[in-house]
Symmetry: C2
Subunit: 413 residues, 2 copies
């Protein structure tokens, strides 16, 4: 008998019919003898409806009141799902975030969980009840309702699994697992049976939107086995876990991530003197612009070129900040480009396999794709290329690293 | 500087525009120097939408979960109204029932308030904040969300006014006060400036749907001055208060109430022996049917006729219960009629004026309206008549007791 925390997102509970389907699935697991804690989001569309309502009242809605408003979305779902479970003869009980006592800090709209009181839940589980908990929400020490920000229901699921020492946290979503890359781009993309937390983090941060980064970090930190499954298709999904029990023959590359969310800015001809990087990035950071990749080329004639990428939403703002910086540093010029894409190979196996990066560059060169920037970490290599080559690059890399084969490895690549 | 509790019902907060109008009104009162606690209902239509949603999941929705679901309605309103108040430069803060600590018993769907913690509210009022409280809801001692039943927002308003020792509890609604009778039936119906709690109770229980009976009882018990006003039209409304400060020359009749909600059942020829009334009404009460008027005629030849009225919704059920009773009591027959109306005159002045009832019967006789049943209390006389004469009877009585005149009295009637 296992204790499972199952999290269902907005699409999975988007209508009464879907809520009934979730209840059927919970019933099946319960009949198999498992204890179940269900975490649910607001019905799809509801959060946006509430945000629109708030904005029609106050342009920039007060954050405390916004949380009071938004938290009603999940509260509706927990009541309806509990009713659906009881209709099936199960004992069920709903919990709002406040009722669980998910205590958070008071950063409304992006609160962080500080503690979870499991006493009441443990007692209810012992009585055989299915618990239905509102995701995405908690309360601060003064009892003010807080929300964890969008996608916070995943965080609630993982945090509850950690606090309850659950055997697995199952995230039900509209995809049936984590793929070697996006199947819409590469036909032969393959579902991974297992992936490590680190790989999943890189995949998530690089644009594979299956899971929220925060929830993966959280699961990794507390060693909660995390499984991504489809609410609509039966299957084993993908298990995200530590790499301790992995095969020795780990393939070098587990997946290809990509996104078109970034823009690139270069400051040409800046004096190559100590402190120049912070003189450039200080004002950018002061303007609340997050920087992703940073590359500084070698110096020629005492000046250098400094390049970084930002989210495309911050592109215009970053250009205007950088123009001010260029003037004060007497830099030659600002070059910018938002028609770029980032493509990355990710895999813990890279640690023990040499030549993965060069295989990547060769595969891109074979397709005559020019690499504009390179950035590496222990388990990933990212390149910036012209966005028009993005799909081609992803397909070429997927094939070069033989990701369509179940026992893919890099040895031949 | 007064402390006012203002309660706005579902129609008054039925759209963003109406919420803005409420905020304008609160701003005006606040600028006049008053401290304000606002109690709001769910936006009109929202409660019904949630009930439908629940019923589409579970035919008879679980009562605990129903309260979790329904309480979201007011929670949306408190957030939106707080935002609208802040937009106007006011300090505002929302409170759910749980956050106030409106502690109730655990009778989900019809909970009764046991205590209200005013400490946090008092502190916020001292800081000049407008408090926006969700009506209709509380939490039991275990933290389960409860609701007070439909119309419970009035009860919340009165209870808060009592707990905070407010100067007045103002109930904003879609009518501009309490009338001598329904203006849709009698053109010359007149708004009352004052009415006593007792009169209001009789008016409310007899079908004048301006206020919930419970909230009037509550206000009377705690001597909270209650004022009914329109959210849409400026005016003084009607003040409901104790009769201590009334004019000596109290008119005998303050208003005419009426309804078509009842049905009449008669058991003919039952043995006139002790215990027969309880043998008839016991099974009726066991079937959860509430009985209003009860009349037993004098005995003829050792048998008597026993008549009572029930709500029309219970009519069919009552007939079937009564048929069983008739058999066991060997009664002659069951006669029933749901085409009846109840018309009542109400007024504390009746206590000191003789002949009010006979004036009533004369006014009805002058219109050839036959009286089927009569029931009296200290401050009201009710009759059952054929429903087709209802409007005629109301107009005749309104005129007979000169209720269209501001200093109406019964002396001439």
């Amino acid at each position: 008998m296992a204790l499972l925390v199952q999290k269902y997102g907005g699409t999975s509970v988007g209508s009464v019919e879907r809520i009934e389907a979730v209840a059927d699935r919970v019933l099946k697991h319960k009949q198999q003898g498992d204890d179940i804690v269900v975490v649910v989001s607001a019905m799809s569309g509801e959060t946006n409806r509430l945000i629109e309502l708030a904005k029609s009242v106050q342009n920039t809605p007060n954050e405390r009141e916004m949380d009071v408003l938004l938290s009603t979305g999940e509260q509706v779902t927990i009541a309806l799902l509990s009713m659906a479970l009881m209709k099936r003869g199960l004992l069920a009980k709903s919990y709002t975030g406040s009722q669980v006592r998910i205590t958070t800090d008071n950063a409304h709209g992006k609160a962080r969980i500080e503690s979870i009181d499991t006493e009441a839940m443990q007692a209810d589980l012992a009585e055989g009840k299915v618990l239905v908990v509102a995701g995405f929400q908690g309360a601060d020490a003064q009892g003010n309702i807080t929300t964890l920000g969008r996608g916070g229901s995943d965080t609630t699921g993982v945090a509850l699994a950690a606090a309850l020492k659950a055997d697995e946290c199952q995230i039900y979503t509209d995809v049936d697992g984590v793929y070697t890359t996006d199947p819409r781009v590469v036909d032969s993309a393959r579902r991974l049976e297992k992936i490590t937390f680190e790989e999943m983090l890189e995949m998530a941060s690089l644009g594979s939107k299956v899971l929220q980064i925060r929830s993966v970090e959280f699961a990794g930190k507390y060693q909660v086995p995390l499984r991504v499954l489809s609410s609509f298709i039966e299957g084993e999904g993908t298990l995200i876990t530590t790499d301790g029990d992995e095969n020795m023959e780990q393939p070098a590359v587990s997946g290809i991530a990509f996104n078109r969310d970034e823009a690139k800015l270069t400051l040409k001809g800046v004096p190559d003197i100590p402190g120049v990087a912070s003189k450039i990035l200080g004002p950018v950071s002061d303007a609340n612009i997050e920087v992703d990749m940073i590359v500084q080329n070698v110096s020629v004639d005492g000046t250098t070129d400094f390049t970084f990428t930002v989210h495309r939403n911050d592109y215009e703002k970053a250009i205007s900040v950088l123009k001010g910086v260029a003037e004060s540093l007497e830099a030659k010029e600002v070059i910018s480009n938002d028609k770029i894409a980032k493509v990355s190979i990710v895999g813990v196996g890279m640690r023990s396999h040499a030549g993965v990066a060069s295989s990547m560059f060769k595969a891109l060169a074979d397709e005559s794709i020019n690499i504009q920037l390179i950035s590496t970490s222990e388990i990933k290599v990212s390149v910036i290329i012209d966005e028009k080559y993005m799909e081609l690059a992803v397909r070429a890399l997927h094939s070069a690293f033989k990701l369509n084969e179940a026992d893919a490895g890099v040895s031949e690549a």
